[in-house]
Symmetry: C2
Subunit: 477 residues, 2 copies
Amino acid sequence: MDNEKLTPRSENFSEWYNQLIQRAELADNAPVRGCMVVRPLGWALWENIQSALDKRFKDTGHVNAAFPLLIPMSFLQKEKEHVKGFSPELAVVTHGGGQELEEPLVVRPTSETIIGYMYSKWIKSYRDLPVLINQWGNVVRWEMRTRPFLRTLEFYWQEGHTAHATEKEADEETMRMLEVYTRFAVDEAAVPVIPGRKSDTERFAGAVRTYSIEAMMGDTKALQSGTSHLLGQNFAKAFEIQYLDENNTQQYCWTTSWGLSTRFIGAIIMTHGDDQGLVLPPKLAPIQIVIVPIYKNDEERSKVMPFIENLKGVLSDFRIKVDDRTEVTPGFKYNDWEMRGVPVRLEVGPRDVEKNSVMSARRDIPGRDGKKILSLEGLSGEISNLLKEIHTSMYEKAKAFRDSHIFDPKDYEELKTTIEKGWAFSWWCGDGSCEAKVKEDTKATTRCIPLDQPGGKGKCIVCGKEAHEKVYFSKAY
Amino acid sequence: MDNEKLTPRSENFSEWYNQLIQRAELADNAPVRGCMVVRPLGWALWENIQSALDKRFKDTGHVNAAFPLLIPMSFLQKEKEHVKGFSPELAVVTHGGGQELEEPLVVRPTSETIIGYMYSKWIKSYRDLPVLINQWGNVVRWEMRTRPFLRTLEFYWQEGHTAHATEKEADEETMRMLEVYTRFAVDEAAVPVIPGRKSDTERFAGAVRTYSIEAMMGDTKALQSGTSHLLGQNFAKAFEIQYLDENNTQQYCWTTSWGLSTRFIGAIIMTHGDDQGLVLPPKLAPIQIVIVPIYKNDEERSKVMPFIENLKGVLSDFRIKVDDRTEVTPGFKYNDWEMRGVPVRLEVGPRDVEKNSVMSARRDIPGRDGKKILSLEGLSGEISNLLKEIHTSMYEKAKAFRDSHIFDPKDYEELKTTIEKGWAFSWWCGDGSCEAKVKEDTKATTRCIPLDQPGGKGKCIVCGKEAHEKVYFSKAY
């Protein structure tokens, strides 16, 4: 058996991405156009993302619930921006139980409307607030151009929906969840992200303000990796989400919503992956350590296998896998687990057994430079440190790549060439027409107005008018 | 504020069930007929069910994945029994992205077809077998009569789908998962269940054999609480799931599927619930211990609250909640948490603080008999034992109730009256016409032919012919 090589990233990034997903068995195409099957490795990765995020949600006071998949068409029409944004993307159920339905139902593209409706039933008094609910589930958006994880008809995500008594509280919640996403991306996925505000054009349909975390992929395109929306009173007014305040006066709630999806798996693939395949951040990797036995004959095998059995006990704090397949060579296994992104490989041969040690190899540093002999004594602690080191090193590498591909073009002409090689971080007057011109000329969109601003003022890179904020322009997924 | 009482179970069981679900805030009706919203308490219970089952699935070698929600209509038509069974219940998507679809898509009612299609792509050789995949998700079945948790248009479940090289292995898998469900029901949910085989009439559409676990609810009706199907080669032939065996010959796989759904929440409610509300089994209860502070004034409060703060540390191994609401009385809180089924309540007043103890109350034994003073010393161990005792006692009580409502009617006339007060356990010749007669005369169906048989033979309770197996007849949800 032979391991097939991927098309190199430098040659065709898009082809590399598609091949990697197939070869690493992360996902497969479903028979329905634009739908995907998330295979066991991909789903285990998503489960680890879920559990890391869910802990952060619960630590910030949220609880989970489940709202229905099917929403009456009329609900979407209650918020005019919302329906405008989502109408073109709806999957519509017109028949149920053999009968045509009186009112068509949409398969939820997002759940603000149905949750708004329920909140209006549940919320009566200021004592009921805040309501802090999250939902893990699937949604359907009828996209025309699809790619596994990045844009699929059905995708998996979490959507938080909160209701508050005041604008201030809702605003704080929006920012809190943006921070939760940022910390998750950096601390768990080793993906450097830039938190910021979306432009009005890029805002969620029905929101007052949308914030996002933006990451740079290996081809320098941007990927919006999580969003947090301040919905103001838009949905509260559309769905009559009201409460009696302490003075017995009816008030509309202030609501937020925020989501992160299986898209983030795309972010992990394209931030860390290399020409050998997937490189998974240790904290999220379904398998953190793969152990490969090396032997030439039964005698060697009889030494190596009991040693590995013992190793399993020593490493019980980690997610490990022993690859004891007999029909393939160790070399095949190395390539195979490199393709699947396992952070650490331990090779165990008869000599290692004699020396009471193992040979470790880092996925993120290919070849000899990533290899190290580790003694069995204190191994668990060594591995723990190694995984931390890998996390930090993956983060630093991705950040260095990103920072070296962010430019500050001196004028509009230079911006145009900048977009071909990375992101432009430029002053922008905030005008939609300047944004539109950049998009038309370069295909780049405004990614976000980062929270972290240089201060002061400058001249809009497009029109030259006074500008008070800098924005990232780039092509995006 | 006052706690509203439930309609007693003895008066109107069905009304009691509906009220309990509303008052305990387990679920609510969605705006679409027959759909439900699972509220945070209900969902937290489901999450605990998921995590208990998921561990058992992984311990038996299964992995999770996610298959698409939308299935081409033509897929269902490939297995003739399957399409006959599910056609009347389908929700159909006819429009997507503003266009009428060329082929209508069904919202999955179950996933044998789409998974069969994928398995036929993935499975090539005997080395790829067995494939042991489970999926957690939502499905839609257009039911006419719905009730929260028991029968809803959309429900949540897990569906395992496995493919094997031989019939024997598939058969073993079917029985293994039936045993997993049995152990889960008994050991985690304290729900006594009877594992057995379904009659041909009650078999899953497309299966060769269906097994189920059957539980008796508080009104003596049966609830099918989990199913495991041996699918034979039916789906393998419909979807060309084939492998090359060791002799290089193409063979069809043998497949199984098995599922347990949010219906099980209904089983927990109706097995354990009483006139005060929900009674949750300790291992699955989202909150295992609620702590209620008792004080008359600020001085007492200043003694009680720091004591409770310390208690939280002592009890950190458990899922606890301190109810420090100031707008309601302790009595209100007792009723409130009884409605929500929390297994243990700890009351802490100034006297308890002085004595360095707490007053514990068991949810499953109302009133004084369930109360006990527990010293702070060794409290964690005491509580751990108490929770175990509650589990056992809930199980024993439910089992005693069930066993005292299972009868062995001497003839068909007695069977008819038996059905009005419980289950009949009777010899049955296996003939569908006898089964149909019972259903017509009594509304009872065959629940299962239990694995545990008395042996020997008897006379069919309906036709008097020789019978080799006994079956449970009862009304069912």
